[in-house]
């Protein structure tokens, strides 16, 4: 991993402690890529939530199983891939946390937040080796605050 590298790859054991490690790596890459502070937070949080899903749901907290992260900084976007060794999940079956019957549920907001914070999000099954989450944030992504125009 060098400061000039367009690709950063990291392999972590499936522990909750490594969630913060992954989040820290994501934050540093976002700073280097030039994202504003709000998007740095949002991207790092999307990585945080994805790695929690990989550790807890994909790899079932089995520390021998790995979570592989790949950050690829393109000219116009940051693409993040997070792979676990689990069987995957059907995005269409993830309940809508905004539905009135789900509003007071304790869990089920992670995927929703990732979708809210990233420009693209999809899940791919990797035959024989697990599940990969792919997230993209464009470098020209504007936060709601940015869209308000120039301050007087």
């Amino acid at each position: 991993m060098t400061a000039q590298a367009a690709v950063t790859e990291v392999t972590l054991d499936s522990t909750l402690q490594n969630v913060e490690v992954a989040e820290g790596i994501a934050h540093r890459i976002c700073v280097r890529a030039g994202f504003d502070e709000e998007n740095q937070h949002r991207i790092a949080m999307a990585v945080h939530e994805s790695v929690i899903n990989a550790v807890a749901h994909g790899n079932k907290h089995d520390a021998r199983k790995k979570v592989r992260l790949r950050f690829q900084l393109h000219e116009d976007r940051l693409e993040i891939r997070i792979r676990d060794e689990g069987a995957g999940f059907d995005l269409s079956r993830v309940p809508d946390p905004l539905a009135s019957e789900n509003l007071l549920r304790v869990s089920g907001r992670g995927i929703f937040l990732i979708r809210a914070f990233m420009d693209e999000f999809r899940v791919e099954k990797i035959p024989g080796s697990g599940t990969e989450v792919i997230m993209v944030k464009r470098l020209d992504s504007k936060t709601e605050r940015d869209q308000g125009g120039t301050e007087p």
Partner: protein
Amino acid sequence: MKATMRQVDSVTVFDISGRITLGEGCTQLRELIRNHLAKGNKKLLLNLADVTYIDSSGIGELVSAYTAVSSQGGQLKLLNLTKKVHDLLQITKLLTVFDVHDDEVKAISSFDKATSV
């Protein structure tokens, strides 16, 4: 996560700081609320001014605390949300659930006087 407690009139105020995330932060918050409910404290105000980070599990823990207190006839309210926490509660529509304040005196006076302490 760290929390200090103070009593203002009949309201128990928790000044919470740090991260409320899956694992230790969520567990601490859960035990804090459950312990005070068990003691009969049913008017709880969470001051989140110094909360630096909250994830989806932390949001879930706030919801869990809210429903636990409400189910016992109490009230749980939030005070001094940071912009990040405010945004998260807005995106998840939970601003429609929680009673949120940015003035402690007004927050204290908003508690239902009829609620048993």
